[in-house]
Symmetry: C2
Subunit: 451 residues, 2 copies
Amino acid sequence: MAKKKVGGETIRLETSSYKGVRDFYPKEMFIEKYIFDKMRRTAENFGYVEYSASILEPAELYRAKTGEEIVNEQTYTFKDRGDRDVTLRPEMTPTVARMIAAKRRELSFPLRWYSIPNLFRYEQPQRGRLREHFQLNVDMFGLTSERADIEIVSLAYQLLKNFGATDDDFEIQVSDRRLLNYFWDSIALPASKRTKVTKILDKKNKMSKEVFEAAVEAEAGKKSKKIIEAMDSGRSFMEAIKGDGSDPAGDEITRNLVSIIDGLSKLNVTNVVFTPTLVRGLDYYSGFVFEIFDKNSENSRSLFGGGRYDNLLEIFDVDPIPAVGFGAGDVTIADFLETHKLLPTFQSPTHIYLAVMDSQFDFADIVAEKIRDQGVSVAVDYTEKSIGDRIKKAATEAIPFFAVIGKAEFEQRLVKIKNLETRIEKSFQINEAGLKEITKLIIDSISIKTE
Amino acid sequence: MAKKKVGGETIRLETSSYKGVRDFYPKEMFIEKYIFDKMRRTAENFGYVEYSASILEPAELYRAKTGEEIVNEQTYTFKDRGDRDVTLRPEMTPTVARMIAAKRRELSFPLRWYSIPNLFRYEQPQRGRLREHFQLNVDMFGLTSERADIEIVSLAYQLLKNFGATDDDFEIQVSDRRLLNYFWDSIALPASKRTKVTKILDKKNKMSKEVFEAAVEAEAGKKSKKIIEAMDSGRSFMEAIKGDGSDPAGDEITRNLVSIIDGLSKLNVTNVVFTPTLVRGLDYYSGFVFEIFDKNSENSRSLFGGGRYDNLLEIFDVDPIPAVGFGAGDVTIADFLETHKLLPTFQSPTHIYLAVMDSQFDFADIVAEKIRDQGVSVAVDYTEKSIGDRIKKAATEAIPFFAVIGKAEFEQRLVKIKNLETRIEKSFQINEAGLKEITKLIIDSISIKTE
């Protein structure tokens, strides 16, 4: 913390960031880029294309969604200098709905779209919850087929696999929002009780068995036994609502869910568990839902999830477009990777640290330029520090190669390059053949590292 | 524009974005990613590492900079729900200064850092000026040597070259902030006149010769002839302030500037012009400055620029750290690329569009998964549209290959893949050898495209 005199008054100028947001120094940025890169590659591998939008949205966009006059208390909403109400987007779905509504006649459905927006929520910062975080949003728009649901779940599965996770590290819980309603009908639970009981079910994992059962009983009275039994076993819950063909709509929902689980299993996605209590908070889910849980015993919790929301464009009063997708946050993913020891070690984007000796600056710059032209990254050290100090700096910054240009190198038109890990040093002529050898040296070392 | 009934009242819910910001649909995002990618590659090629920070900053950070109680009228500043003043960053320099001040004891200087932040200014949107734009910020911290200035300018030069520009497309104007003061001293211009005359010089390019000369005369009276003469010729201006050794400090500044121009010329950066009128708006520049101009005759204007600002950490009341850098905006770069016909045509990140026939969904998904495992992107079309319509959709989305999986392919365990450009079609077995052939087909076609 520093002090600064302004207008005769001493104010304290903090060097810390705004509360609840992050500074990304190069080492943190490396992790963030690693996470984004895996997100991008996974989404694109499945044929998704990236879109984006500004963090600034008209506040109406969020008012409209809930149908309330007051914007959610957790948003950053303010008036701009032109007296317009502006919100820093708290989630991406209203934005993508707006973009699709605007061009729905030009766009050719189904669309496979992804984005990695930053999102803002005004809340007390805590582990895993910050005021700003980034979130991979992956959505397929315009396809009602369960093939879309299967694809979205297998993409989410593949994302974690691409981070190095194994099937044992996580569990995919699946359900369908509509199933609960059929179950309430089947046990004739009064409409007035349904919302409250559903909320209890949503929090089942956060309570002890006893507390859960007492809470259900307090709300549902005599019906509570049936509810508790059904929740304990996904299978019997399914039996309770399908089976006799008396309700074709209920059968259809069950068939749909079974078909999603089967499709995933054929793709070897088998860490899937039918979880009737799965509700997920957001209002707009209309059918299939899923949520991925970390199975680490010390840190069992939800990683991310998604589902089907077929009423996407409702707020714009245009024809609905079916959609299924998920959102996965960077903070949660990073925590997961840390827990399972899957975070990569920092690697500099710089390949060669080139130390100039004997004031051979001009020659060093020319050599650096020639090496850079081959696509190899070179940082030139123009200081007059000792070679030992400079090697130390290169090592601290995790730069794999160290080179020297001095009087001898200038006279012989060559550059000495040392692999800081193997300690092997070699001289290269500054000509076409020599430059090609340098490039090969670097490429070989990088491909070994990434294998 | 759509209408929505909320609370009995009909409101109109716009599908357009907030004024002055952009929606990036996949095709615009492709251009934006292309620009960011070139920025990243160029900066990393010179040994720079990426950092980042939140767009939210304490408003004090900007008040401190100008020493005024009122934050600049063009910023987005508001109170959060905890009554803290927050600003959406209008530029990155105060943020990076804050980050460096916070960790200056741990960081090992010199630092080569870059970032591509989005920046916000509340102003009337117009061509090339939006309320939100992205800006590549490249800075070297901790080196006073002119080698740092040379490197920064040659990196800026290389950035434009990497976008495909030629030396004739742009011009690099250079000067030193301190030179003007020496010139004012040499012609004994009263201190009271200097700021106003400097402002006129800064706008020289935006006026006719007559208007410029009249403006200088109105301010500088008898001294105006000397000023106009000196400005007309960089060389005579240099002569006016160096030369006789009577002022070693003035000589040193001149020598420094000449040495930067010489160093650039040795690296074949020769489209450099000494421009004594170059001032650049920002307060914090303390020495060498440069600005790059588009030489297109119909659109001659500043693209971007930078310079040396050695008082960076002043606002935190800690020891100063010398710095040199520049900021290049995405909107200006995109306009430049458009003017010079250097924008790339859209290419999908998806390699293969796979159409499912005869309800062979499970087999198609398995084949897609096997191909994806090779790093090849596959979008599966689960619709029941005609093959013609599906080929059309693949072509619209600029996906280079089209594949079919139907009953015949399932029975023979193969996939037919067609190059939509050459119209050449080939069948591949779904086994290890066949998958390798598919990967080769895709890689070969991509490397041809990018060559």
